[in-house]
């Protein structure tokens, strides 16, 4: 379809104006606000004792949830693509549930299972394991929320690669681990990378589910996104902006990694 010069410019302007209003200008704003509030002061506020504790908790959550989802994701993708069994299609659909549910609903479901007054949560508490209003609950919420990312990225890649090479390797006497490590894994590595990157972004920024299960105890069960929100609530927005900046910076790195992994995946 040959577009006239006028039409082309018109469409381009509409898109640029829309994206500026929605995406580009707001991001510029937050950078400006951080500096306006006094760069050093706001970072001091963000990295007060509470801010540091929040950052540490967030990093701990990422360190547990992302590897768990990666191992599950690769295994689940193999089970979905390479194995024939009843319920495979159903399982393939159910995997997407965490995408479709509100994070608050996810948090509530964990609260109703592991809450201190519920039978299951009470059992764990009696055995000295506090799940809700504590780190295990936050980690569980993050795993739930980001569960499908790796699976969704690896399934199509695994389908496309096919199993000819795996079969050849097996014929030549490779055991399953050798086949997996030398054939399957190299074939899906950029799909896995992409999945890991977006899981990390999601876990880093998870708000709703963690909001419900954490109890939001400052310095203890407060993740970085919860810390940002609290800073705004107490109207100490300088520190809030600085902490938000840290998260936004990580998001930009994530975006860069996503583009890199995407390009490799398509290559």
């Amino acid at each position: 379809m040959a577009q006239s010069r006028k039409g082309r410019w018109g469409l381009r302007s509409v898109v640029l104006i829309y994206l500026s209003a929605l995406l580009i200008v707001p991001i510029g704003m937050i950078v400006y606000q951080t500096f306006e509030a006094g760069f050093v002061d706001s970072f001091k506020a963000a990295f007060s004792e509470q801010g540091i504790a929040a950052l540490k908790l967030t990093l701990l959550t990422v360190a547990i949830a992302v590897p768990a989802n990666t191992i599950f994701g690769v295994l689940a993708a193999i089970v979905i693509v390479r194995q024939k069994w009843h319920g495979r299609a159903l399982f393939n659909t159910l995997i997407d549930i965490p995408f479709a549910i509100s994070p608050v609903v996810i948090g509530l479901s964990l609260l109703l299972l592991y809450g201190p007054l519920e039978p299951v949560g009470g059992f764990f508490l009696d055995n000295g394991i506090r799940i809700i209003f504590s780190t295990p609950g936050i980690v569980l919420a993050c795993i739930f929320v980001s569960l499908p990312f790796v699976v969704r990225e690896v399934v199509p890649v695994l389908q496309e690669v096919g199993d000819d090479q795996e079969q050849a390797a097996t014929t030549l006497g490779a055991n399953w681990w050798q086949t997996f490590r030398r054939i399957t894994l190299p074939g899906i590595r950029w799909g896995v990378t992409y999945g890991v990157v977006i899981s990390t972004a999601r876990v880093l920024g998870e708000f709703g589910a963690v909001y419900v299960v954490s109890g939001r105890i400052s310095g203890q069960t407060e993740t970085l996104p919860l810390f940002v929100r609290k800073q705004f609530e107490v109207l100490d927005s300088g520190g809030g902006y600085a902490a938000a900046m840290v998260l936004a910076f990580v998001a930009l790195l994530t975006l860069f990694a996503m583009n890199l992994a995407n390009r490799r995946k398509d290559a």
């Binding site: 577009q3 390479r82 159910l94 479709a100 509100s102 079969q167 708000f207 705004f232």
Partner: protein, 272 residues
């Protein structure tokens, strides 16, 4: 997996027939998924009926719950409709236009996927809130909420339509043009029908995301009754049954949307 080609009897495929290990891996995956996802959701549904069906029904159909659902679904529909138009337009410009900075523009489209939702909320509040430097105060209004939702759901339709548009056969368009079809006719009769499944897939994901959104709205929504915020408030008031009842309703809507649109989305393998 079996192909249409004549089957040669091959030695065991790497993962499938080793009965024990296949069963083990399948068992592990399903057990883990049940513990993390299915069992908590089952408890949510059970809890909503804890005080009997009538208590569930009262909580699910209370004026507050109905208002929240109506507002949330309405805003999600409006946002999804805008996404269908603007998302397709953005994808079109990214694929068919050439200009300086296009590659950069293309790479920032995914920013809402990467940016923590609370940061999105903070950012939009800074620009469109009561301290707005451009004098537009949309905080605590449904327009403000819609803008946050538009931000959060921006990439879905774009990323769904883009690959389809790239693969579109331009010869057909040229043929149509040489037979005297106007641009509008080509767009309406050729391009839109080819893009429709991709647009629907993206729209389904955007809608599902919009009705459940919480993080980006908590600072902006104010008195606008958003379902997830009402649920959070009920949890805070220790109204477990009330929160669970509204959650189950929202869950039902999500699952229906997932089932209807999942078919389309599967084809694309979209990141969410």
């Amino acid at each position: 997996m079996s192909t249409g080609a004549p089957q040669v009897t091959l030695p065991k495929p790497a993962f499938a027939p080793r009965f024990g290990s296949a069963l083990l891996s399948r068992g592990l995956v399903i057990t883990w998924f049940s513990i993390i996802v299915m069992i908590p959701l089952a408890f949510l549904v059970l809890k909503s009926f804890d005080e009997g069906f009538s208590a569930f029904w009262d909580a699910a159909t209370s004026p507050q719950a109905l208002e929240a659902l109506r507002t949330t679904v309405t805003l999600a529909l409006v946002v999804t409709a805008i996404n269908c138009v603007m998302g397709t337009l953005i994808a079109w410009v990214l694929v068919r236009d050439e200009f300086r900075g296009k590659a950069l523009l293309n790479s920032i489209i995914d920013l809402p996927f990467a940016l923590p939702t609370i940061v999105a909320g903070v950012t939009l509040l800074a620009l469109y809130g009561n301290d707005s430097p451009i004098g537009i105060d949309l905080a605590y209004t449904s327009i403000g909420v819609s803008i946050a939702l538009l931000f959060i759901t921006l990439p879905f339709v774009v990323r769904s339509v883009q690959p389809t548009l790239l693969e579109l056969d331009r010869d057909m368009e040229e043929a149509a043009a040489s037979l005297g079809a106007s641009n509008w006719t080509i767009f309406r009769r050729l391009i839109i029908p080819s893009l429709r499944p991709a647009i629907i897939a993206g729209a389904g994901l955007a809608f599902a995301r919009a009705i459940g959104e919480f993080g980006s709205l908590i600072l902006i929504a104010g008195q606008v009754k958003i379902a997830s915020i009402v649920i959070a408030a009920r949890i805070e008031q220790n109204d477990a049954v009330g929160a669970a009842a509204l959650s189950v309703t929202l869950l039902l809507i999500s699952v229906v949307v997932l089932l209807i649109f999942g078919r389309f989305a599967k084809v694309k393998g979209l990141p969410i």
